[in-house]
């Protein structure tokens, strides 16, 4: 019997010819990623060694990556101390793939990994961040884990007791209308599947719309797969994946796509035709509360956010800059733009997007997670509403449980910035 991509990768990494959903495997890990929460991983890692008489040593310092992104630059002495502790650990263990708070090599982990070509088709990637699913965009098996699980991986180089997920196949076909972006497609899918519709499942994306999509858009899809509960979201590697890795990430090694067998067994198949799709918005306070933007249009906004590991890439900034060039952000609206990485910031500067956005009234923030998780920069006041290109709108997510967050594409966010109200981006045409 054939295998899906998830099954093939887990079988190969576990040294088996075949695995089936529900099998328990112990696959070898190619890349183990953490951000500031490495502070907790370090504690747990050292605790594992306690009483063993062994010297704490990570299994392979070249296969671990640590990226500062969640609270950069540090918003408090507590965070600064955590970052200092991590730096010291990185130096002591000789961890090579370390990304400091810098304008050249820094950025959000889920942007830095693809930029540096750390993830290849067929890789097994684990990260102490739920949106580690992003890296399925490279045709890899990528999933989020907790800090203690990561400490165990740092010790052993493998993940213990991983249950092989069943796979849901998602076919995306049709003719992509104007003003419809990967974000609209994934929001629509999450609305269909619900917030736990893919729990303990892998998503595998197929179809002509996916084949034509850039790596940037694929990262958006894979990133938000976890919002339907999915363990991982995988896009089969193809010529675009290889182009990206060779040209943009300057990967030299040979790249071997892992593709599903023709007779792979899927638990379920979901078909989406985008031909008549409308711009989508996730409404407070769950990501699966998805409606056409049209139905929530007119809602007064206080803050617009363009950024995050979902939509803070160059094409997202380009869309926003194109819409806002020569226009003004509405009075009484704060617009915050967070380029996803230092590289994207520099590219956006060169292309003039940053100048256009700033001239329109947007505040250009430093690369990083920014206000996405409500820790620092851009908290909301009681009763305020934000429209964001981020991935979560849970109560309290943007720092205040008495505020509301709507999620949308960069086009919807930019058009709404001009009106100060949630606005269907197709209005721009009129």
């Amino acid at each position: 019997m054939g295998m899906t991509i998830a099954e093939k990768i887990l079988a190969f990494k576990s040294g088996k010819n075949q695995v089936r959903p529900g099998d328990i495997v112990e696959p070898a890990v190619d890349l183990a990623m953490s951000h500031e929460n490495a502070a907790l991983v370090i504690n747990q890692f050292l605790e594992i060694y306690q009483g063993t008489g062994l010297t704490p040593r990570v299994w392979n310092p070249d296969n671990i990556t640590i990226i500062f992104d969640h609270r950069v630059p540090a918003e408090s002495s507590k965070t600064a101390n955590n970052q200092k502790k991590i730096r010291e650990f990185v130096a002591a263990q000789g961890i090579t793939k370390f990304h400091e708070i810098r304008g050249d090599v820094g950025g959000i982990c889920h942007q830095v990994l693809p930029e540096y070509g750390y993830v290849h088709p067929g890789s097994l990637v684990l990260g102490t961040d739920s949106h580690t699913t992003s890296h399925g965009a490279m045709g890899a098996f990528a999933m989020g884990i907790g800090a203690t699980e990561m400490a165990s991986v740092w010790c052993l180089g493998a993940i213990l007791n991983l249950e092989v997920p069943a796979t849901i196949r998602v076919n995306v076909s049709g003719k992509l209308p104007g003003y419809i972006y990967p974000k609209d497609i994934i929001l629509y899918l999450i609305g269909m599947l619900t917030a736990n519709g893919a729990t303990f499942r892998a998503l595998e994306f197929h179809g002509p719309v996916i084949e034509k999509m850039s790596v940037s858009g694929r990262l958006t899809l894979a990133n938000m797969s976890v919002e339907a509960g999915a363990t991982t979201g995988i896009i089969p590697a193809d010529a675009e994946t290889i182009r990206y890795l060779q040209q943009e990430a300057e990967v030299q090694e040979p790249i071997e796509p892992v593709l599903p067998d023709p007779d792979a067994v899927y638990e379920q198949t979901v078909d989406i035709d985008v031909t008549n799709m409308e711009p989508q918005a996730a409404c407070p306070h769950t990501v699966d509360n998805v409606k056409p933007v049209r139905e929530v249009a007119g809602k007064t906004l206080h803050q617009i956010v363009i950024g995050s590991c979902t939509n803070g890439r160059l094409d997202d900034l380009e869309i926003a800059a194109r819409i806002l060039k020569g226009k003004k952000v509405a009075d009484n609206v704060r617009m915050l733009v967070f380029p996803a990485s230092g590289r994207i910031y520099r590219q956006a500067l060169q292309k003039g997007y940053i100048a256009d956005l700033a001239a329109s009234g947007a505040v250009i923030m430093n690369p990083g997670c920014g206000c996405c998780l409500g820790v620092h920069q851009g908290a909301l006041a009681d009763g305020e509403t934000a429209l964001a290109t981020t991935n979560r709108n849970f109560k309290g997510r943007m720092g205040n449980p008495n505020a509301e967050v709507y999620l949308c594409s960069p086009a919807t966010a930019a058009v709404s910035a001009i009106t100060g109200k949630i606005t269907d981006p197709r209005e721009e045409r009129r």
């Binding site: 739920s130 884990i145 165990s152 309290g396």
Partner: protein
């Protein structure tokens, strides 16, 4: 017998259990102070040690959805609570197993604040209503980690054997 101290609906996210703004706090001795920090009264009751060990939180489907932050588990573990939910988000459930937090899955559970529950042999009996509910046991591999007292000791055994 243990009492239900609060009841939640579906899709309770880790932002509700442990808001992101406290994420720089990582020590399991310090995280309990911020459990359900935005539910100010409940948080105060927890911190005032109003509830005995083993008190129960009832929740609907997809409890612990969202972030992988382990603080959402360590903060509940610190208060020695037991969770009974219809279902969990994957990472939360795995974190609970890894830290030894009791997170029981009872898909049909009916219980409300104040009810007294008895948990035994993969069943929950609601003594207040007289009804009884099935608990889906943990998979064998998860149970093995629980039995070892969590993933720290489970991994330590593996490391020493290596």
């Amino acid at each position: 017998m243990a009492q239900v101290i609060i009841k939640f609906g579906d899709d309770i996210s880790t932002d509700t259990i442990y808001p992101g703004r406290f994420m720089a706090t990582v020590l399991p001795t310090e995280t309990p102070a911020f459990a359900f920090a935005d539910y100010k009264e409940f948080n105060k009751q927890l911190n005032d040690k109003k509830f005995p060990q083993g008190s129960i939180i009832i929740a609907g489907n997809n409890f612990g959805c969202g972030s992988s932050r382990e603080q959402a588990v360590s903060c509940l573990k610190g208060h020695e609570l037991v969770i009974v939910a219809k279902s969990y988000a994957r990472i939360f459930l795995q974190n609970a197993v890894n830290l030894g937090l009791q997170a029981l899955t009872a898909p049909d559970i009916e219980a409300t604040e104040g009810d007294e529950l008895v948990v035994a042999d993969n069943r929950i009996v609601n003594k207040t209503t007289g009804k009884s509910f099935t608990v889906i046991p943990l998979s064998g591999s998860r149970q093995a980690v629980m039995n070892a007292g969590g993933l720290i000791s489970y991994t330590r055994e593996r490391l020493v054997r290596k």
